[in-house]
Structures are given as structure tokens and as C-alpha cells.
């Protein structure tokens, strides 16, 4: 049982590439958590539509990629969100 942030219901799975690592770092920063694993859900970490906009704005600025907050709201696990961003950049 956690006190504040939702509940992590999955084992931590380490990011497997640079894009996932960058996105995990931004998500951790905005959601005030230590780390975000590949199968962690944005919603379980207390994410809101506003934090989705913040995460996406930071990714756009740092990585120069176009990111739509809907990608995160619809694909709330880190690995799936990263895949959307990768597809969007193609």
C-alpha cells in the first residue's frame, strides 16, 4: 500500500533504448517519482491530462519530436507511449 502516488502494480522493467530512457526521465520528473519502468502505467503514477501535456511539452522541447498528449493518455505504459512517439517521428 502506498501513501501518495497510485500503486505500482508491476515489476520494474528497465528501459531498453535511448528514447525510452529519455521519456522515462521526463515522466519521472513531472510525476515526482524515482523511476518509471517500461510497463509502468502513467495513470498508476497519478498522471492527469495536465501532467500529460507537461510531459509531452518537455519531450518536444528536449528531443525535438512532435508528441501528442493523446498518445500518452491512450497508451499509458511507457514502452507503448515510446513506440507511438517513434512511429510519429517516422
Amino acid at each position: 500500500m502506498t501513501e501518495n502516488h497510485g500503486v505500482r502494480e508491476v515489476e520494474y522493467e528497465q528501459p531498453t533504448n535511448e528514447l525510452e530512457e529519455e521519456i522515462a526521465a521526463v515522466m519521472a520528473e513531472v510525476l515526482s517519482v524515482d523511476r518509471v519502468g517500461r510497463r509502468d502505467s502513467f495513470y498508476d503514477l497519478g498522471g492527469t491530462s495536465l501532467s500529460a501535456i507537461r510531459i509531452c511539452a518537455r519531450i518536444e522541447r528536449r528531443l525535438g519530436l512532435r508528441v501528442d498528449p493523446l498518445w500518452l493518455l491512450d497508451h499509458d505504459e511507457l514502452a507503448d507511449f515510446a513506440e507511438q512517439i517513434r512511429l510519429g517521428a517516422e
Partner: protein, 507 residues
């Protein structure tokens, strides 16, 4: 003393048609690759209005719309008004149960939507087509728009109800048009362009849209439901948007992440929540000449009740940034608990009078009588709206907001009754007792809503399961983002749940 000129209230579509007559080729609406002038918009809507009347829509009806934002929705809304009826725009993404709860409050309505919307309750479909094509289609046999009285209903805004049933705010034409046009609010009128970003079911959608279209200005409909700073930049640079309304939390986010994105705007309204002095200060330091308005008011007194042009000194006011002076056509009185007027400098309930006051809550006479009483002001009995908000006037006559006495909160500009969330949570399998609490950040803005709950023995829904169940009952913005199971809820001596203790739990 010269008399202050204030806009003349009109019928919403009457005002739009006046501009179509005076400047038919003036830009009215931009959406994607459609650029539509006043003549095309009003002719397209007249074509649609003819269809609506053929389907049995008549003056005085309420027509629910399950249509997403865009040029198509604008044309449909204007068509409903031209037919003499009122519209209630619902969000097709709301849970089906919520949409059903709203539709069941209406008497066998014609429900308009896109093809495929039938499972949600749509009875008549209108496929989107370019407004220019619609305008041409009706050229042979043009529908003559119905004229309305200023007091006739124009739109219904559904807001969170404290017992889990959404309540509809029945809003007349006069309320929508009272603050726009010559002598009205800054940023609206010929040559001005506003972005349309607010959710379509909201009264601030009407602010962005009808604010310009009833005053002769233009609107750019933004498809994105989540405005990114980069998109704002493009709206100003490419679409020449100069007027915007933003909810406070989105404004704060853009100030934090990309302050320069506001460059080029000429009027900015921010509201829906308490202002953050830090963000206002950062903005004013960067854009000292750009009018930044604090906009305040509940849907029951249509869109805005008071506005305040913010200045750096406001960020040092201990009770927070003032909400300002009443908008044109609105009178604000502060009343004590016993109903007598508060003395200057004394706190009281904010009560509004004038053409902005709604007709009442749809099919809810009891609540309408309670919130919209006839009160005496300056020796005259007038209909009022009791906001439930507390405020005080300072010695310059400027209104300051002092919170609420009940459990209604604003989160990212959305009005939420915590009781609505608790009613949904109580219907979740496995939950025994629960409380929804709003936790605020250091600036007093609501940061998140947490659901604190105990479980029925033998049940153990995970927070994810609880969240998913709530998402089937509540609009997405009202679903809590923190879930905190406990063995027992803390209680006060009188046995009631100690909400203050739950609000204070460390973040």
C-alpha cells in the same frame, strides 16, 4: 458623469445574422482547411435548420448534440438556435451511463449526432460536410430563422451534481450576448480572432465562440483537446489568433514550460480556478503591455461574472489575486448568512443579478427555487443567483474571492462536486466506505483529487480496478488520480469522516 455604454442583449443567432447582413464576406470561422465567412456560415446553418424543423424540432425544444467540436458543430448549434430551440452539447466521450442520465431528463428529444452515434442515443444523424456545400444546398428554398425573445432558452450546460446526477443550467439568449459588442469585453469584435479550445459542453465554449460571432469577430477551432505550447505559438503566428481564454492550470503550465509561446497575443483571459501569483508575476514581467484578465464566474451566471486586469501589485495581495469588477449587465451583491447585505469590507456570499442569470436548473424546481430566489435589491424584487462562493469588496469596489462553504472544487478548470465522485465510488464493488478529497499545492490551487476508501471484507479491488470502474461512471476529468485504501477512515468526535485530516495527508 457620462453614461457607460454597455452591449445590448440580443438573440444569439439574431446577432450573428446582423453581422452576416452587414459584412457577409467577413471571416467568421476557421477549422482545418475550411475558412468560412459570415454569409456561408449563416446559409449553411439555415439549410440545417430546415432539416431540423422537418424532423420535428420546434421553438422551445431542447436538442441534445452528440457532436465533437469543429466547424460542423458550430453550424449545427447555430441551426438549432435558428429553429427557435435550445441546444445541449454533450461530449460523446463521456461514459454512456452519464449521457443516458442526461438524455433521460429530457422528454423524447431529437438527439443529433454523427453517423454511428446511435448506441449513445443519437436519433437523427448529420454527416459533416463542408459548410460551403451546405450553404449551396439550401439556396433554392432558404429557411427563415425563427425570431426569439431574449428570455428564451438558448443552451443548456450540464455540470456535476452533488448527488451523482448531472444538473442542466438553462441559459437564455440574453445571458450569452450581454457582454459582447461595443462597450463590452476587451478582445471581441470585427477584426479580432479567438481560438476555440474549451470543451464543447462548457459555458466557456460559448464565451470563445459566441463572444466573437455575436460581435462580428472570427473564431479558429483547434482540434487538439490538449493545447500544447507549440500549438499556441502556431495559432498566433499562422492563424493570427489574438484573443484567448485559458484555464488557470494550463496557463500556469505554459508559463512554466514555454513562456514565449504567448508572444503576439493581444488579449488573454485566464480563469476557472484560483490564480497563481507566481505565474501571473512571471507573465507580467515578460509581457507588461499584454492585457491579462482574471475571469471569474459560475455557469449559472453565464460564462463570466467579473473580470480583473491583473497588475504586478495584485500578486502581493494576501487573500489572492482579485476577481475584479462585474461584467457588463451584471450586478454583484454580497449577503450575510441571514440574507442581509454585508457591510463594505465584510465577507459575504456572492449573489448575482441581471441578464446573465440563468432560467434555472432543468427539471429541478426545488434546487432552482433554492439557488435562484427573488431578492430585494435597491427596493426592487429581482431574480438572483446565489453562487455559494464567498467574497468581499475592497475599498476600491474590487471583488476578492474567498473560497466556498461547500464541497465543490475546481480542478484544471473543471467544476467537480466531491459528492458526485463519492456516489460513484460507493457503487464500486468491494468499497465499503470512502471519501473524495481535493489536495491543493502551495499556491492554493487544487493539485489532485484522491479517493480514500476502506474495503468490504474478502474484497480487494486494486487501485487500477477502482479507477477503471469510476471511469465508466464519471467524466475523465472527475476520475481521481490517487487511490488510497485504509483500514479505517479517520473520524471526528461527532462520528463524521475527518476530511481535513485526509486533505492534509503528506504528498
Amino acid at each position: 458623469m457620462t453614461e457607460v455604454r454597455t452591449p445590448q442583449p440580443r438573440g444569439v443567432h439574431t446577432a450573428v445574422l446582423r453581422h452576416a447582413e452587414a459584412s457577409p464576406a467577413a471571416l467568421a470561422l476557421v477549422h482545418g482547411d475550411q475558412r468560412v465567412d459570415y454569409r456561408t456560415l449563416t446559409e449553411a446553418s439555415a439549410t440545417l435548420a430546415g432539416r431540423l424543423v422537418g424532423w420535428g424540432v420546434k421553438p422551445g425544444d431542447i436538442v441534445p448534440l452528440l457532436v465533437p467540436r469543429g466547424a460542423h458543430l458550430v453550424a449545427v448549434q447555430l441551426a438549432v438556435l435558428m429553429s427557435g430551440a435550445a441546444y445541449a452539447t454533450l461530449d460523446p466521450r463521456w461514459p454512456a451511463s452519464r449521457i443516458e442520465a442526461i438524455l433521460s431528463q429530457l422528454d423524447d428529444p431529437v438527439v443529433l449526432g454523427l453517423p454511428g452515434g446511435e448506441p449513445l442515443g443519437v436519433t437523427r444523424t448529420i454527416a459533416p460536410e463542408p459548410l460551403a456545400d451546405l450553404a449551396r444546398a439550401g439556396a433554392e428554398d432558404r429557411f427563415e430563422p425563427v425570431s426569439v425573445e431574449l428570455d428564451d432558452p438558448a443552451m443548456v450546460f450540464f455540470t456535476s451534481g452533488s448527488t451523482g446526477v448531472p444538473k442542466g443550467v438553462l441559459t437564455p439568449h440574453r445571458a450569452v450576448t450581454r457582454m459582447f459588442g461595443p462597450g463590452g469585453l476587451d478582445g471581441f469584435g470585427p477584426g479580432r480572432i479567438a481560438a476555440q479550445v474549451a470543451p464543447a459542453a462548457w459555458d466557456m465554449y460559448a464565451f470563445e465562440l459566441w463572444g466573437q460571432l455575436t460581435a462580428g469577430g472570427a473564431v479558429v477551432v483547434v482540434d487538439d483537446n490538449h493545447l500544447m505550447p507549440g500549438r499556441l505559438r502556431a495559432l498566433v503566428a499562422d492563424d493570427h489568433v489574438d484573443t484567448m481564454w485559458l484555464t488557470t492550470s494550463l496557463f500556469n503550465l505554459i508559463v512554466d514550460e514555454d513562456l514565449d509561446a504567448f508572444e503576439g497575443l493581444e488579449t488573454l483571459y485566464v480563469g476557472g480556478e484560483k490564480q497563481s501569483p507566481r505565474h501571473v508575476r512571471m507573465f507580467l514581467e515578460r509581457f507588461p503591455g499584454l492585457p491579462l484578465w482574471n475571469g471569474f464566474g459560475p455557469a449559472e451566471n453565464c460564462m463570466l461574472t467579473s473580470v480583473h486586469r491583473m497588475v504586478p501589485a495584485d500578486t502581493d495581495v494576501p487573500s489572492g489575486i482579485p476577481v475584479g469588477v462585474p461584467v457588463p449587465g451584471t450586478t454583484v451583491v454580497l449577503l450575510r448568512e441571514d440574507g442581509s447585505p454585508a457591510a463594505p469590507g465584510e465577507r459575504g456570499e456572492i449573489v448575482t443579478f441581471g441578464p446573465g442569470v440563468a432560467l434555472g436548473y432543468l427539471r429541478n424546481e426545488l434546487l432552482t427555487r433554492e439557488r435562484f430566489p427573488e431578492l430585494e435589491v435597491a427596493g426592487e424584487k429581482r431574480r438572483a443567483y446565489r453562487t455559494g462562493d464567498l467574497g468581499l469588496f475592497d475599498d476600491r469596489g474590487i471583488l476578492h474571492y474567498h473560497g466556498r462553504g461547500d464541497r465543490q472544487v475546481k480542478l484544471s478548470g473543471n467544476r467537480i462536486e466531491l459528492g458526485d465522485i463519492e456516489a460513484a465510488a460507493a457503487a464500486t464493488p468491494g468499497i465499503r466506505t470512502c471519501a473524495a478529497v481535493a489536495r491543493t499545492d502551495e499556491g492554493g490551487t487544487v493539485d489532485h483529487i484522491a479517493l480514500v476508501y476502506t474495503l468490504v471484507e474478502g474484497h480487494s479491488p486494486t487501485p487500477r480496478e477502482v479507477r477503471r470502474h469510476l471511469a465508466t461512471l464519471l467524466p475523465a476529468y472527475a476520475v481521481p488520480t490517487r487511490f488510497e485504501p485504509m483500514d479505517e477512515l479517520p473520524r471526528r468526535e461527532n462520528g463524521k469522516v475527518d476530511l481535513t485530516a485526509l486533505e492534509r495527508r503528506p504528498v
